[in-house]
């Protein structure tokens, strides 16, 4: 296969709010010329720090949705009987023939109602779910996206963003892609970690953080992706920090450092700066984590 081996670092957290995005912004600054991918497509925030200049926008389509042509609808209710997702709504005043419609928010685009409508009165257009963008930032090219409100979050948009970031990295000869991953352990996270060179799980020293990290590491092990762990705001509970680090090691992950709780993080965010671009006390901790990551990632 042609091309240099591109490394991909994916930053995830399991639990939301651990500081994953703030940290990713700092890594982007420290890396200097990485391609950045914001895969937290449901609630993307990285752009608030990196301030991308959008170069290209692309519509994002995924799956289909069922739409009833009211003028052809017989009011038989067959669609409602067949729908497993409670997406068929009926309106009308109770007299005469009821009017049926599909709730786009509930519709999963399975096509059953479309196929079995006796009047063939249901259309099945492709669904526009959002958009993805290719932009320039002070740290390099960035691929990011916006998922439409109430859209289906299958992981396809995440995959699209990652694929595009890889294409740009190959084109420009970048050796590194840094990905801001989504929270949780479902579809979107699976799409963001499979095939990564290294996953960094950012957690916090709380019972929630510990619980969610365990599930996240189980996921990355399931997909055979090397995993590193770092505890953010560690001094909120040093005892818990130690417990988490020990458990991470037992689970086969590597511990790459700790970052202290620091009110200057929000101050940096307000100034649209990454923490390492300020004199914040935690900046040194972040640099240390980055150095450890570089050493371990064959980066």
């Amino acid at each position: 296969m042609s091309g240099t081996k591109i490394k991909e670092l994916v930053v995830v957290s399991g639990k939301g709010g651990t500081g994953k995005t703030s940290l990713t912004a700092s890594f982007a600054v420290l890396a200097g010329h990485a391609v950045i991918a914001d895969c937290d497509v449901d609630a993307a925030d990285l752009h608030l720090i990196l301030v991308p200049q959008v170069r290209y926008r692309h519509e994002f389509k995924s799956g289909h949705e069922a739409v009833i042509r009211v003028e052809n609808c017989l009011g038989c209710g067959e669609c409602m009987k067949n729908c497993r997702f409670d997406a068929v709504r009926t309106s009308g005043d109770g007299t005469g023939v009821p009017v049926f419609s599909i709730d786009p928010v509930s519709c999963e685009g399975c096509g059953v109602c479309v196929c079995f409508c006796p009047a063939h009165a249901i259309d099945f257009p492709e669904r526009v779910c959002g958009e993805w963008m290719v932009s320039e930032t002070r740290c390099g090219s960035m691929v990011h996206a916006r998922l439409g409100v109430a859209a289906e979050n299958s992981g396809k948009l995440v995959s699209t963003v990652r694929r595009e970031a890889r294409r740009i990295a190959e084109e420009h000869g970048n050796g590194l892609i840094i990905v801001d991953g989504p929270p949780g352990i479902g579809c979107p996270v699976i799409s963001s970690v499979t095939g990564a060179s290294l996953v960094l799980a950012v957690t916090e020293p709380t019972v929630s953080g510990e619980h969610d990290l365990e599930r996240l590491i189980a996921l990355t092990r399931h997909f055979s992706v090397p995993t590193a762990v770092c505890v953010n705001k560690w001094d909120i509970n040093p005892g818990m920090t130690e417990v988490i680090e020990r458990k991470a090691l037992e689970a086969g992950a590597r511990v790459v450092g700790r970052i202290r709780y620091d009110s200057a993080v929000t101050a940096a965010q307000l100034r649209e700066l990454a923490v390492v671009e300020t004199e914040a006390p935690s900046a040194g901790d972040i640099r240390h984590v980055w150095e450890k990551l570089k050493g371990k990632e064959n980066c």
Binding site: G17, C110, A150, G186, N237
Partner: protein, 290 residues
């Protein structure tokens, strides 16, 4: 009455608000933890396990003796969960959404459905709170079916608090639809404001009345307050930035137990919610006077 607690951004304090509200409810209340990917309520409401049930979705099973590999099932399936190749038909249950379409279209009647495990639903009880939570099996991609199952366990006649997953996409919708009111939890930072706006759009799309809870007041600026004021969104509660809250949370302790001075705040939140809901008008915005 069903109160949903949601947020655009993760980590703003949904679970903190849900479990502490439940604790000060005053009468029997149920809390449904719909954050099935990372359920946390049980860490704070330590209860006795009453029931654990395996949750499953129907996936196709092909009867080889009847199947002639005509391919109609694969042609129908939107998710590539079933496909005819050569002389056999393969099922990929992890991709299946459980729509039942393949079984319906099969001309040979060769497909029946059987349950595929996606997670568990646990019912726990502590003091005045019944906790019903879903826990998605690691590696299972689809959360909404389990979330719908959790909600089907809602006990009629008992007030309910629903802890939603973070974000604004399909799992959140599955969780909060049908609620009487949504409390959106945010923090006064640029990330918090940005994601709050997305969450407001989502809740408006669903047509559910909503208010905002601002957590960790003092860490950022007042743009979230201004946003709520401009849009006439009621601020149902403010929680100040208090390191002791973070520390109690880190230990798995309820704020109202560790710091009893906060009991009145969460009681006020409940009062505000009930006022807002029964009168259908905004409450006086709660401002942190301290």
């Amino acid at each position: 009455m069903i109160i949903a607690v949601a947020s655009g951004k993760g980590g703003t304090g949904k679970t903190t608000v849900s479990v502490n509200m439940a604790r000060v409810y005053g009468s029997r209340v149920q809390i449904l933890d719909c954050d099935v990917e990372e359920p946390n309520s049980h860490l704070f409401l330590k209860g006795t396990l009453l029931e654990r049930e395996v949750s499953s979705i129907p996936v196709p099973m092909v009867d080889e003796s009847r199947c002639n590999a005509c391919g109609k099932c694969g042609g129908f399936c939107q998710y590539h969960a079933i496909v005819s190749l050569g002389t056999t038909t393969l099922v990929f249950p992890e991709l299946c959404h459980g729509c039942g379409g393949c079984a319906k279209v099969c001309p040979a009647g060769a497909i029946r459905e059987e349950g595929r495990r996606i997670g568990v639903i646990e019912t726990l009880e502590t003091d005045n709170v019944t906790l019903i939570q879903g826990r998605l099996d690691v590696g299972v991609a689809l959360a909404p079916p389990l979330i719908r199952s959790v909600k089907s366990r809602l006990q009629g006649g008992l007030p309910a608090i629903l802890d939603a997953p973070p974000g604004t996409s399909c799992p959140v919708i599955a969780a909060i639809r049908g609620s009487d009111l949504v409390a959106l939890v945010t923090e006064p930072t640029p990330f918090g404001l940005h994601d709050l706006k997305l969450a407001v759009d989502m809740v408006k799309e669903l047509g559910i009345p909503f208010g905002v809870v601002i957590n960790r007041v003092g860490i950022g600026d007042d743009r979230v307050h201004m946003f709520c004021g401009e849009r006439k969104i009621p601020v149902l509660l403010e929680i100040p930035d208090d390191r002791r809250i973070a520390e109690a949370y880190s230990r798995g302790e309820l704020v109202v137990d560790a710091l009893p001075e906060y009991r009145s705040r969460f009681a006020t939140l409940l009062w505000n919610i009930k006022e807002f809901w029964s009168n259908g008008r905004g409450v006086n915005n709660v401002r942190d006077e301290n």
